[in-house]
């Protein structure tokens, strides 16, 4: 029984490490779908709570993609969520604003919110979650070419929305 308890503690530490490592990206991805930080946070917590209850991912080949898939499923299983209509919560920043002014973060947030849901998800997964086109394609059940085209369109729109800021930050 002692070994079982030790194994459980090891698993718990591993899951907490995963949460620290991927938590911010998972939360941002969840916000991209739900539009609400609180609901997104609930979904991420729900996934990790299930992992803590019965951590069974030894057979998972791509653990990072698996976590994003779990979060997406948790959100889409919630009938209240409509992925195409994300209402922006002005009070809740999506990004840290330590060395930036809040207006810049708000501009980016508005630009992301204005994107169609599928483009927003692809962009966030690519830029802030560090997933490849192949991983995104697998996750969203679309072709890698579709991922690339959505990303290209989204990037253009973001650039347009943040054009003035882009020039000032590109030199940084």
């Amino acid at each position: 029984m002692t070994s079982r308890v030790m194994e459980m503690h090891t698993r718990q530490s591993e899951i907490e490490r995963l949460y620290r490592q991927h938590g911010p990206a998972l939360l941002l991805f969840a916000i991209a779908i739900t539009g609400e930080r609180s609901r997104a946070q609930d979904a991420v917590h729900q996934v990790f709570a299930k992992l803590l209850e019965r951590a069974d991912f030894d057979d998972v080949l791509d653990l990072k993609a698996y976590l994003f898939q779990c979060v997406r499923n948790a959100i889409l299983n919630d009938a209240r969520v409509n992925a195409r209509n994300v209402s922006l919560d002005e009070e809740e920043p999506w990004f840290d604003v330590l060395n930036r002014d809040y207006s810049e973060e708000l501009t980016l947030r508005r630009a992301l919110s204005a994107l169609p849901g599928d483009q927003r998800q692809v962009t966030i997964l690519r830029v802030w979650c560090g997933l490849t086109n192949a991983q995104i394609a697998e996750l969203l059940n679309i072709s890698p070419n579709t991922v690339a085209s959505r990303y290209r369109y989204a990037l253009g729109k973001l650039r347009e929305a943040m054009g003035v800021k882009e020039d000032s930050c590109a030199d940084a």
Partner: protein, 128 residues
């Protein structure tokens, strides 16, 4: 991808996603509680086994001990009549006949149950 796109990506990545709230303690507690429950079950099982074994052994002791006590209580052995006791009875009895009766019959404190009469009482009544 164009260089402009890469530059724009680098610019976007400067925005860091916010940290999520820490995992609720309930999750940690749930695991700890599970481990604790397993330990508690094991402890309870150990206690139960100990109690059963103790009661079994104690029961055997009680049975033997109870038998000894029952023997003493149910069949009290009257103290033996010694010459000293006989002399004392003769000295204190009102008559020699009374002293002989005391030596022959040990006093009994038997209580007659309700609604019953002793045979000796009935016979004495019939005599009268």
């Amino acid at each position: 991808m164009h260089d402009d796109d890469e530059q724009f990506e680098i610019y976007l990545r400067q925005f860091r996603p916010r940290e999520p709230e820490p995992l609720p303690n309930g999750k940690r507690v749930r695991l700890t509680r599970r481990a604790f429950a397993m330990g508690a079950c094991a402890a309870a099982a150990a206690v139960a086994i100990t109690v059963v074994l103790t009661m079994g052994r104690g029961g055997r002791l009680d049975r033997s001990g109870g038998a000894e006590r029952g023997h003493i209580e149910l069949a009290p052995i009257p103290p033996p009549l010694t010459i000293r006791k006989a002399n004392a009875l003769v000295a204190h009895a009102p008559s020699l006949q009374a002293a002989m009766d005391l030596m022959a019959f040990h006093p009994q404190s038997a209580v007659t149950p309700k609604n019953r009469q002793s045979a000796l009482f009935v016979l004495s009544k019939e005599k009268n």
